[in-house]
């Protein structure tokens, strides 16, 4: 109890209490390092943050992208945002920045850059990818109470997220989305359906697709469209 309070309030070496031990010394040493790391993370934040608003804004993100040498439209930037659990598109707050960079163990721009390939591997793990995929949709909801995303943005997002892994599905799906007239926007349920479809349905023969199952109607239409194309 006391320890935790001293650690919060004072410098670690003030914890010279009766039960001071080697473990405590080690802890204080490591926490010193942690503090140093945090300081550097904050410094890095400040180098990109907008002075008046105190957050990293789109301009700051642009600078960050050029420093880590990726396009700001690159999927890895989205992954970085996911790691930070960034809420607002185009902005990183200090809390989000700390959360992300601490998790990446990166306190210099060079380390951030080096962490990106590892981050991508982490995101591509199936258990994480589902979360990342749904995060990407939410991240694109910029207006309050917005629940859907327009077809054009959805196509970009599909290509960004699934394009490398499910190239043919995504190509056809985008082609379909752009030619159909029934839907002008896509909601979260349909969005999640797309991923499930790519993961589960054999393509392009679609043999295991059953419209009697709970697939969103937009996918029923897509499959029908595919089958018409094939004959």
């Amino acid at each position: 109890m006391r320890r935790s309070s001293t650690r919060k309030t004072g410098p670690p070496n003030s914890a010279a209490s009766v039960n001071s031990s080697a473990v405590d010394l080690f802890r204080s040493a490591s926490s010193k390092a942690v503090i140093k790391e945090l300081e550097r993370i904050d410094q890095l934040f400040n180098s990109y943050a907008n002075r008046s608003s105190g957050v990293i804004d789109p301009e700051g993100i642009e600078a960050l992208c050029s420093d880590v040498e990726v396009e700001h439209t690159d999927v890895r930037i989205l992954m970085l945002a996911w790691k930070m659990k960034a809420e607002k598109q185009g902005y990183f707050t200090l809390d989000e920045w700390r959360r992300g960079l601490k998790a990446l163990r990166a306190d210099t721009i060079n380390k951030v850059k080096k962490a990106l390939p590892e981050l991508e591997k982490e995101v591509r793990r199936p258990s994480n990818f589902l979360d990342f995929y749904s995060y990407a949709f939410r991240y694109c909801l910029t207006e309050e109470k917005q629940k859907t995303i327009d077809i054009e943005s959805i196509c970009l997002l599909l290509d960004l997220l699934l394009g490398s892994q499910f190239c043919t599905q995504v190509d056809f799906l985008i082609q379909f989305l752009k030619t159909q007239n029934d839907y002008k926007v896509v909601n979260m349920d349909q969005w999640m359906g797309f991923l499930r479809f790519c993961n589960e349905i054999s393509f392009p023969d679609l043999n295991n697709y059953d419209p009697e199952l709970a697939w969103p109607l937009i996918l029923d239409n897509f499959v029908e469209w595919m089958r018409e194309k094939q004959c």
Partner: protein, 270 residues
């Protein structure tokens, strides 16, 4: 439903007090009786407003009623639904007196023959300003139907632009009181699609209600079972795709959610 019954009750009272009112006793043209149903807009089916130039006597009647009504309930707006009016006319044919139960449009046309013996289609159209199709149907009902109180020249089923109409002096019928049926409007294509749409919309609500009812009791249900139950409950034919559409709409509106671990299962969100 309650509002509908209320409207009818209130209308009775209004008609009663109208008859007692000073306006009615002093200004009304004699020889005409009128009863009005005042119906609340929005609760009753809507009808497209139809123009008609009423004979002077009827116009006076409407105006006095309106004046009376608005003095009683200021700030309201009265709109006359001419297409819904009906009248009983006393007619003297050479072969006997009759009472004709007719629509307001039929009345307006027939009353022109109080002052004329023969009128062209265009004359009638100009004096009544009834919409063209509606007028043709009205004339058809008076001159080409079962009860022919008018004669059409030349004879024929359809009303042409240069047709003329005459008072039928030969008219005779065994009964004293005769109903002249209006000719049923053939549904136009637009009307047909709008009806289908309306039916579909009404059914949507029924589908939504059924889905919510089922999910409310089951809380958690697989897609297949939900669809099966819906087919059992709904009394009209419906495509599975339409059911899906409604389910998805309810997900959108957060009545349901797709289970996070099993996409074939829906959860009811209370």
């Amino acid at each position: 439903m309650l509002i509908l019954l209320q409207d009818i009750e209130l209308s009775k009272e209004i008609n009663e007090s109208f008859k007692q009112s000073s306006q009615a006793r002093t200004k009304l043209p004699s020889g005409i009786e009128m009863s009005v149903h005042v119906l609340t807009t929005g609760y009753w089916p809507t009808y497209p407003p139809m123009d008609v130039r009423l004979p002077h006597e009827l116009n006076v009647y409407q105006d006095i009623f309106k004046e009376f009504y608005l003095s009683k309930y200021s700030g309201r707006r009265l709109m006359w639904q001419n297409s819904l009016g009906h009248c009983v006319l006393k007619a003297e044919f050479p072969k006997g007196k009759k009472e004709l139960a007719v629509s307001l449009f039929q009345t307006v046309v027939l009353m022109l023959f109080n002052d004329a013996w023969k009128l062209s289609f265009q004359d009638i159209k100009d004096s009544t300003v009834i919409e063209d199709k509606e007028l043709r149907r009205t004339l058809q009902s008076l001159a080409c139907g079962k009860v022919r109180v008018l004669q059409k020249l030349p004879k024929g089923r359809e009303v042409q632009d240069d047709d003329s109409f005459m008072f039928n002096e030969e008219f005779n019928a065994p009964l004293y009181r005769i109903k002249v049926n209006a000719i049923q409007m053939k549904e136009t294509v637009e009307e047909n699609t709008s009806t289908t749409e309306r039916v579909f919309r009404d059914r949507q609500y029924q589908v939504d209600a059924a889905i919510v009812r089922i999910m409310k009791t089951r809380k958690v249900l697989s897609h297949t079972l939900l669809i099966t139950e819906l087919f059992q409950q709904l009394k009209f034919p419906i495509k599975p795709a339409d059911l899906k559409k409604r389910i998805e709409s309810l997900i959108d509106r957060e009545y349901l959610e797709r289970d996070k671990n099993n996409p074939q299962i829906y959860n009811y969100l209370a």
